[in-house]
């Protein structure tokens, strides 16, 4: 079509130019904040205070990063964040794929019941306070388990995987059955390998959800320094710099802020929590675009 460019009318050409300009502005508005954060995180902290840092650092330094990686609370937070992401993703994949497989079996006796039981959880929830009371009764407050256990089963994920399995040829399962495989072996050896694309999508959703969550830390583990996550620590710094509030008056943090300005610390942590996502998501793009559309069609 581009070979016919000379055929375009004046109106068409104007439209194209305006369209490219608008989209470029959108791209710039999306990227600029990240580039700005990166520039500030790499700029000397005392110099940053003078303002005027836009796209690149004025006085390049890695001191901000050295400072945050020398701060034990943040390193510990990083470990917890990684741990919950890995465990939470694995558990979530296991539960969603198993449930999806059983629900895809038309002959499964309790299919209707399990399916309804699961679907209902998408429509109502007990709410924040009753869930909090439950966690307290289960003695889960102040434990690592609270990050990964309550949310193991997600109805949305199950239904996305299930509609993918429904699209696979059923004959594969039947021939495996004839070869003497039991239902678990069919799931493990036939279904799981075929589901890689949809599992990649769900893994991305789960991992991003785990990596990004901070509210459960705030609500349940806020006064347990050994269990706080990176996002939560970032939130505390954000909060203290924004309102100068008394929320985080830890001595450690105050000492840290004396070495480099809170602004620089904030930016460096922001980069640290953003980069892992930045590295992963473009490669999974074709999977999750498919997964999203699949989910929408199902719904």
């Amino acid at each position: 079509m581009s070979t016919k460019a000379f055929n375009l009318t004046r109106g068409e050409r104007t439209f194209n130019v305006i369209n490219y300009v608008v989209l470029t502005v959108i791209v710039a508005a999306t990227l600029y904040p990240f580039l700005n954060v990166l520039a500030i995180s790499l700029n000397d902290s005392a110099d940053t205070v003078r303002g005027g840092i836009y796209l690149w650092p004025r006085q390049f330094t890695l001191k901000n990063y050295e400072t945050i990686f020398g701060y034990t609370t943040l390193v510990q937070g990083f470990k917890i964040s990684v741990l919950r992401t890995v465990i939470g993703t694995l558990l979530g994949l296991l539960s969603a794929s198993m449930l999806a497989y059983t629900l895809s079996r038309p002959d499964f006796r309790s299919r209707k019941f399990v399916s309804t039981f699961l679907a209902l959880t998408m429509y109502f929830s007990g709410g924040m306070v009753p869930v909090y009371i439950l966690m307290r009764d289960l003695h889960m407050i102040g434990t690592f388990g609270i990050y990964v256990l309550p949310g193991i089963v997600s109805a949305f994920n199950v239904f996305v995987i299930r509609s993918f399995i429904d699209g696979l040829p059923y004959a594969l399962q039947e021939s495996a059955k004839l070869d003497g495989a039991n239902d678990f072996q069919i799931y493990y050896k036939v279904i799981l390998p075929l589901c890689k694309p949809v599992l990649a999508t769900i893994a991305l959703f789960l991992a991003v959800g785990q990596w990004n969550s901070w509210f459960d830390t705030y609500l349940y583990n806020g006064n347990k320094p050994s269990l706080t996550t990176l996002q939560y620590e970032l939130m505390k710094i954000l909060d203290s710099t924004q309102q100068g509030s008394a929320m985080s008056n830890s001595n450690d943090l105050a000492k840290l802020m004396q070495q480099v300005s809170p602004e620089s610390i904030k930016m460096a942590i922001t980069i640290v929590v953003t980069v892992p996502i930045l590295v992963v998501y473009p490669f999974l793009q074709r999977y999750f675009v498919g997964g999203m559309t699949l989910g929408a069609v199902k719904a």
Partner: protein
């Protein structure tokens, strides 16, 4: 789906089968499908504990719940908690904020992704299209903590937005955006647009791909310009997708979450930033008025379910119409 052949079942029971044989078959079915049960029942129990038991917790809304006492020792107070709730001025302010912010992001969450998808669809250069799309997803994957940090620094007195405004002579003095209560709804909605537009456009882009290309060819032959093609072909082509998604999101009007409000809000703007969930958090958990907090949560959940059913009814009506 259901017409797919089931696995050969052990012995088809004839129509004259007695109930004893039926019962036998029940157990033998379960035994035969033991792996399916082993793969699903543990998660059903899990769901029961973490998703269904909290519903039982709603009983607290009718008590004066004291954590140290057992269920039978709790004092029942009927609808007292709800009476207090409905007489609280703050509740109405919070409800107003919740509805306003979810309404705004509902509308913006439709207009901007659709516009973006339509514009992107008009791009003929594949590399540009791909790169634009990939970049547009980026903010979706970033946490609200990060987005709130970015928004606050962009909107700060020395931030890029104020620089732009003074440079363009739109305002003479830098504006303290985060301290102005009246700006708060706009800031939250704007952050939402920045974060989710690219992501929400995925579905519309997919729907646009499904439109018959010949329609465009025919329109071009008839001399229709790009705007006419968008207006008469693209938008009607994704009309049903738009309707379905719009109706479904009505059901989520009250469950807009609290992350952005909590992270972007501060004491100066709390009259405009408090939403139902934060209200429940502040009363229910922070100062341990568990029963009152539960009443707030319950109000939220029940209204959500009603909205969802209403939306579903609407959806059915619409679906019937669209078939004709």
């Amino acid at each position: 789906m259901d017409s797919q052949p089931a696995f050969p079942s052990t012995g088809r029971v004839s129509a004259t089968g007695a109930s004893a044989r039926k019962k036998n078959r029940f157990w033998s079915d379960i035994l035969r499908q033991k792996y399916l049960y082993l793969m699903s029942l543990p998660f059903v129990i899990w769901l029961f504990i973490f998703n269904y038991v909290p519903i039982w917790g709603w009983t607290m809304a009718f008590q004066n719940y004291k954590p140290a006492k057992s269920f039978s020792e709790q004092k029942w107070v009927g609808f007292d908690q709800f009476k207090t709730l409905f007489h609280d001025d703050q509740f109405y302010r919070v409800l107003r904020n919740t509805l306003a912010m979810s309404g705004l992001s509902l509308v913006a969450g439709f207009i901007f992704p659709i516009l973006f998808a339509v514009l992107l669809n008009e791009v003929k250069s594949m590399p540009f299209k791909r790169i634009t799309q990939t970049i547009s997803y980026l903010p979706h994957f970033v946490s609200w903590v990060v987005v709130a940090g970015i928004v606050t620094s962009m909107l700060s007195l020395d931030g890029v937005v104020n620089h732009l405004l003074t440079w363009l002579h739109i305002s003479d003095e830098p504006i303290q955006f985060m301290a102005k209560p009246h700006w708060f709804w706009g800031i939250v909605t704007g952050s939402d647009i920045w974060k989710e537009t690219g992501w929400n456009a995925i579905i519309y882009l997919a729907a646009i791909t499904g439109i018959d290309k010949e329609l465009y060819e025919a329109a071009r032959v008839d001399g229709a310009g790009r705007f006419r093609q968008i207006w008469n072909i693209t938008l009607p082509g994704i009309r049903s997708t738009i309707m379905v998604l719009f109706i479904m999101s009505i059901g989520h009007l009250l469950s807009i979450g609290y992350e952005k409000q909590m992270l972007l809000g501060n004491n100066l703007v709390s009259d405009y930033s408090q939403v139902l969930d934060l209200y429940a958090l502040n009363y229910g958990i922070k100062i341990a008025h568990f029963s009152y907090g539960t009443a707030i949560s319950m109000f939220n959940s029940v209204v959500s379910v009603i909205l969802l059913f209403a939306a579903n009814g609407l959806f059915k009506k619409f679906a019937k119409e669209s078939i004709m």
